[in-house]
């Protein structure tokens, strides 16, 4: 935790600020959300590290995807992820987003979440404990330090592939694509 | 040189000429009436300068005053006869085109008779003569009301006849009693001989005469006949009835009260106060009945009752300003009400129904007539640029000048009446201009013949409204003549 090394602050303030002010969007995607209240309240207090839950994606720069992702929830996750703005990081909770976990053969859950949205950090475990969340957060700090937490750049770079996968999984999406894809934007004008 | 008797004789002569002429050619009858009326206007204008200094007294038949029938052509008489003749002329021009079906020649004869009666009442100085002319007036108006020939017309004419008869009989009894008391029929003689009007033997004839004349002058309890008569009569007839007949009745009451009984001079009796209260009562009843009315002619009839109440109130105040205001209101009401009835005549003729809502959209179809109607209505309410405003102004000023709180209350009632009047007239104006309807009628003006009188009336109303000095001079001298009884007696008895 190099929060109070003033020199670093002056050298690269945006990276340091991003590290020590991670506002997580409070969006219950799956069974893992039951882990978040103890994390942010008295016993484990994530606010020590500057992590507080916020209500809207606009104010957030950290997206915790907690638990299995059903096909219907994926639509909401994509929409929320696209409504957040750079620099933004995603951390996937539990084994289900990694490879489907115990729902590996269910027709209704998404197996590999990173085929649809970029993920910066994974926490294994079928519902990891709060301490694991803090490990993830500190791991995320090092990633930010090394500049490897570049999920949002990957999303921008391979947006066409991401969009194609999303439409493969969900069928036609109502909202226009985030970045101009060019050849097959049917109708909707890109913003 | 010019003898006031001509004013009565010429129209009477022409009246009897019409049936003879109609034997020759049916159509000629309707062009006759305007001639004697023009003659009357010319004569009264000629008489005017002489009458202004002192009234022209003429005794027919050469007998001495105690017995002779004499005419007193003072400023009041001349003024009113001029007004009667003028309005009669315009309405006769209007009737030329309006009256087509039925016995037109009999209509024109009765019309002339009515006007002669009115002129006679205005000019006469003898109470029995007053009664005779009064009878001519009433009988011809009964017949004219029934002229339309439909059920409503006849029924209301019969009702009018009955009430008129009762009124005339009361008048006759009153005159008889007076004749019994004073042995003379000449107003000036009676006035000279009469001391205190409040003594019982004098009061009873006065009461009789006033109620008799009151029936014709549409005072509150006595005017049951007016709404039916004026609404079911053809428009020119109701124009004449509202315009002239009831005004003449009111003049007769004023003449009787002021000259014969001299109530204005002796301060003991406050009978005038009673008349003033009666006037305001008539005003309020007339206006309130008109508010809820949706038959347009009945509404105009009720508004005539209202206006009569106002004039009676003004005259009953007996101060110089008040009487001037009263006479001014009388003239402006005659002009405005005649205009209203004439315009309504053609509107209802075109829409075939008397209902106010049927008049929707007439503003676009008959623009000039509805503009004339609006000007007439605004003048009746008393809005500034029109004739009604100065007259109402004078009446209110006179009432306030008396400084008695009763008159404050009464004038308050009068102003409330004005507000109610404004309410229903503005509603009609809205219906005329701002409601769409009657799209099927062709956008055609009133025929030219009817248009002349309407335009003249409008010019007169606006002219007097903007420049009232035009007739205030004549009115003040007329008021003076009405009020001071002594000059009247001196002039007549010489």
């Amino acid at each position: 935790m190099d929060r109070n090394q003033i020199a670093k602050w002056f050298k690269e303030p945006s990276k340091m600020a991003n590290k020590y002010s991670l506002h997580a969007i409070y969006f219950c995607t799956g069974c893992g959300i039951i882990e978040v209240p103890p994390v942010i309240t008295a016993r484990w207090d994530a606010e020590r590290f500057g992590v507080i839950p916020v209500a809207t994606p606009r104010q957030a720069n950290l997206f915790l995807i907690t638990g299995y992702v059903s096909v219907k929830t994926l639509k909401a996750i994509i929409r929320t992820y696209e409504q957040m703005y750079e620099p933004k990081y995603t951390v996937a909770f539990g084994s289900c987003p990694i490879n489907g976990g115990m729902y590996w053969d269910s027709y209704n859950t998404i197996k590999h979440l990173d085929k649809y949205i970029p993920i910066d950090g994974w926490i294994a475990g079928c519902m990891p404990r709060p301490e694991a969340i803090f490990v993830a957060v500190t791991h995320l700090w090092t990633l930010i330090d090394k500049g490897m937490a570049n999920g949002y750049e990957r999303y921008k770079k391979y947006y066409r592939a991401y969009r194609r996968n999303q439409e493969l999984a969900l069928g036609k999406l109502e909202w226009p694509p985030l970045y101009p894809i060019g050849e097959h934007t049917e109708g909707g004008e890109c913003d | 040189m010019v003898n006031p008797v001509l004013l009565i004789v010429v129209p009477l002569g022409f009246a009897f000429l019409i049936p003879i002429l109609s034997l020759l050619s049916k159509k000629a009858a309707k062009y006759i009436p305007p001639i004697p009326l023009c003659f009357n206007i010319v004569v009264s204008l000629l008489l005017l300068p002489r009458a202004l200094e002192n009234p022209v007294v003429v005794s027919i038949g050469g007998w001495q005053p105690a017995f002779s029938i004499n005419l007193v052509a003072g400023p009041v008489g001349i003024l009113l006869s001029a007004v009667v003749a003028f309005v009669g002329l315009l309405v006769s021009i209007y009737a030329v085109d309006y009256i087509r079906e039925g016995a037109t020649d009999r209509y024109h004869m009765l019309f002339l008779l009515l006007l002669t009666g009115a002129t006679g009442v205005v000019l006469t100085g003898d109470i029995f003569n007053l009664f005779v002319f009064f009878e001519i007036l009433c009988i011809s108006s009964y017949a004219l009301v029934a002229y339309a020939g439909d059920k409503a017309g006849i029924e209301s004419a019969v009702k009018y006849l009955i009430q008129g008869a009762v009124g005339s009989s009361l008048l006759l009894i009153g005159i008889g009693l007076l004749y019994g008391l004073f042995g003379t029929l000449n107003m000036a003689d009676i006035a000279k001989a009469l001391q205190s009007p409040s003594s019982l033997p004098v009061f009873v004839p006065m009461a009789l005469i006033i109620s008799g004349l009151g029936v014709e002058a549409a005072i509150f309890p006595l005017n049951g006949w007016l709404p039916d008569a004026h609404s079911s009569a053809p428009s020119p007839v109701s124009a004449i009835l509202s315009g002239i007949a009831i005004e003449v009745g009111l003049y007769a009451i004023a003449r009787v009260v002021f000259t014969i009984f001299g109530l204005s001079i002796d301060s003991t009796s406050n009978f005038l106060m009673f008349l003033a209260v009666l006037g305001i009562l008539t005003l309020l009843v007339g206006e309130m009945c008109a508010l809820g009315q949706n038959n347009i002619k009945r509404m105009l009839a009720y508004s005539s009752i209202g206006q009569m109440g106002l004039i009676l109130f003004a005259l009953a105040m007996a101060s110089s300003y008040a009487v001037v205001g009263g006479l001014f209101q009388l003239v402006s009401h005659t002009l405005a009400k005649a205009l209203l009835f004439l315009t309504v005549g053609y509107m209802t003729y075109r829409t075939h129904s008397l209902d106010v809502s049927a008049l929707a959209g007439i503003g676009k179809r008959m623009p000039i007539t509805s503009l004339a109607f609006t000007i007439g209505a605004f003048s009746l309410i008393g809005l500034p640029p029109f004739a009604g405003f100065p007259s109402k102004l004078l009446i209110v000023r006179a009432a306030l000048a008396t400084k008695e709180c009763l008159f404050f209350v009464l004038i308050g009632g009068a102003l409330l009446g004005t507000v109610i009047e404004a309410a229903y007239f503005f509603r009609i104006v809205q219906v005329l201009y701002f409601k769409d309807g009657n799209t099927n009628i062709a956008r055609k003006q009133v025929p030219a013949v009817a248009l002349i009188p309407i335009v003249i009336f409008v010019i007169l109303i606006v002219g007097i409204g903007i420049y009232p000095k035009f007739i205030t001079g004549l009115l003040s001298s007329a008021a003076a003549e009405l009020l001071n009884r002594v000059d009247y007696i001196r002039n007549v008895l010489g």
Binding site: D45, E47, Q59, Y85, E86 | -
Partner: protein, 298 residues
């Protein structure tokens, strides 16, 4: 002259610093009350730096103009308030102008929120304005009591008057209005019992829903300044507004901590409950104060 220009520049920065310190203190003390360790005192500064570098969403020109107008309004109000001995704009209108310039802040946020075109924003703004109407009734009564009592409309003269006759909260009528001011302070600052307009759970932080990086930065600065203004106004009017800034800051700190305890302990009221409360006790006290003052005066 140079001193005045320096005052013009430094005073808002000092006010901002105090406001941000209060925000950090608020989070720290609430955490400690909730038995948590809580973020460092400088956490708001870190958040603001992060927001400064964060990209954000805009919904059109009014979205930004409204926010700029509201922040400018707050800063200008700060210039009107005497802080210890410094008072840059004392001579141009006094309390009435402060009252009306304070309107700019809520109007600005309402305007920019309006263009955000989000149902949460509209509900948030309507609650914010209703709440404002709620606390304005007692607030205006309090200000009128003070102005009528000292028969002046300039804050500087009120402070000078208190220097010789002691704190105005000591005199009976103004004690009532001082207590009433304290009762409505949480509503004015938007703290817990009354933070119904930016409730994260119900309407996902009301007017702030669409505010991203720099917009959220402006909103936080504006909230910090609001803290400073309301508490400085209270200290000036009721606690005598000390000679040098240090004592002034200590007085502000005491008042702020008092309000903070209420903030940390109470659950959020519904908007009707808030209005009913605001129009019952604080208004009664303020009205009593005003009646006593007017009777005393006439």
């Amino acid at each position: 002259m140079v001193g005045r220009i320096l005052q013009f520049i430094l005073y808002p920065l000092v006010a901002l610093a105090i406001g941000v310190f209060f925000l950090g203190l608020a989070r720290k003390i609430t955490a400690r009350i909730q038995w948590r360790y809580g973020p460092p005192l400088v956490q708001p500064v870190i958040d603001m730096i992060r927001l400064f570098y964060q990209k954000s969403v805009s919904h059109g020109p009014v979205f930004a103009v409204g926010l700029i107008m509201s922040l400018a309004g707050s800063i200008v109000v700060v210039l009107f308030l005497p802080f210890g001995s410094i008072c840059p704009l004392s001579g141009s209108g006094g309390l009435l102008v402060v009252l009306y310039v304070m309107l700019l802040a809520p109007m600005g946020i309402a305007l920019s929120g309006g263009q955000g075109a989000n149902p949460n924003i509209s509900i948030g703004i309507s609650r914010k304005l209703i709440l404002a109407l709620g606390y304005e009734v007692p607030f205006l009564l309090v200000l009128l009591t003070v102005m009528t009592h000292y028969n002046t409309i300039s804050i500087v003269q009120v402070v000078e008057a208190q220097r010789d006759i002691g704190w105005s909260i000591a005199s009976l009528p103004l004690f009532l209005s001082g207590v009433s001011y304290l009762l409505i302070l949480p509503a004015m600052l938007g703290f817990r019992p009354f933070d119904v307009s930016t409730a994260p759970q119900e309407i996902s932080s009301g007017p702030l829903v669409e505010y991203g990086g720099k917009y959220l930065l402006m909103a936080t600065i504006e909230h910090a300044l609001l803290l400073f203004i309301d508490i400085a106004l209270f200290v000036n009017l009721f606690l005598g507004g000390a000679g040098n800034p240090i004592i002034f800051f200590v007085k502000m700190l005491i008042v702020f901590v008092l309000v903070l305890f209420i903030h940390a302990a109470f659950p959020r009221l519904r908007i009707e409950q808030a209005i009913r409360y605001l129009w019952k006790w604080p208004t009664a006290l303020a009205l009593a104060g005003l009646i006593i003052v007017t009777i005393g005066r006439s």
